[in-house]
Amino acid sequence: MSVNEKFDEHYKQKLVRPGNGCCPGCGGPIAWRMILEGLDKNTVLYGGAPCASCNMGTIRLPQFNFHFSFVGDGASGIAAAFKIKGREDITVVSSAGDGGVGDISFGKVSACAERNDNIIQLCIDNEAYMNTGIQKSGLTPYGAWTTTTPEGKKSKKKMIPMILAQHRIPYLATLSIAYPQDLLEKVKKAKGIKGFKYLHLVMPCPTGWRSLESKTVEIARIAVQTGIWPLYEIENGVLKLTMKPKQRPVEDYLQLQGRFRGLSKEDVSEIQSFVDEERDRLLERDGKNIWL
């Protein structure tokens, strides 16, 4: 067998094969490769995640999609159809980007959570509307440049996981491509639970974040290490921090991304205190039930 044939044999074992249209260094394909390791063939994918959906064509699972203004709703319909047909064995996964989940279809995601629809809702978050050319979303962080916030975003990132936690859903978790083992455990856990599960993954977009393609995983790691993107899970209301890394200054994270170039020293200290407060709040509640 030639080397290429050996490669092809290998790809046949996987649920995703190479050859997608994403930018070099896009976090999307990394996220999907890792998430699919935790799922199996008995899965149906609903939705895409607009930018990272350049990669959906390479995924070897049955898929159905409308548009990003349709997050979760179709998955609810598919789950209901499978239920009435006696096929609740099939895992229904709904995926969307930060724009879909956080903005245009936020009401829909909230409704799926309230109904406790038996689906896994993924949010593949690259912190802006990237597929339409880098416009601000509700999940763009404070201070970030986008084409619609050229002077830096004035409002803070919408905290979707915590909002959905208050919907009393059975399970939610934050994921990172820099911590694949942690990610895999969380995906497998979600798969085994009945009801509405929410998995939120923030990943760098070199094109929109103005970062080096080669540093995508490194930036994702530093996000966790600084506390900017904390890794935790909330199961039946109980918060558990799954990574408690050493506290790294936010500057290490911000300086690797061109989108934060406009920040002043004061902005950076403001961000540092904000992140410190959030970290302390999380640590205080670690191991406790956070339902209010």
Partner: protein
């Protein structure tokens, strides 16, 4: 794919510790252990350089693609 790449990753097999970190993080999933060696499928590699950046042993070099005449 070589037409779209500016740089391509090259694993120095003698230094490679076979830790598999490059394969874990490659966005395209084109670093695969074949036999004893990790090899890169250049048909699909986009030359992003994540593998070289993540390699704990600095065993992967990014080499400029030669322009084809």
């Amino acid at each position: 794919m070589s037409l779209l790449r500016s740089f391509k990753p090259v694993i120095v097999q003698d230094n490679c510790k076979r830790c598999g970190v490059c394969a874990t993080y490659c966005p395209e999933g084109v670093i695969v252990k074949i036999g004893d060696d990790y090899q890169i499928d250049y048909r699909y590699c986009k030359g992003c350089g994540i593998c070289a950046n993540e390699c704990p042993h600095k065993t992967i070099s990014m080499v400029r693609e030669k322009a084809e005449g």
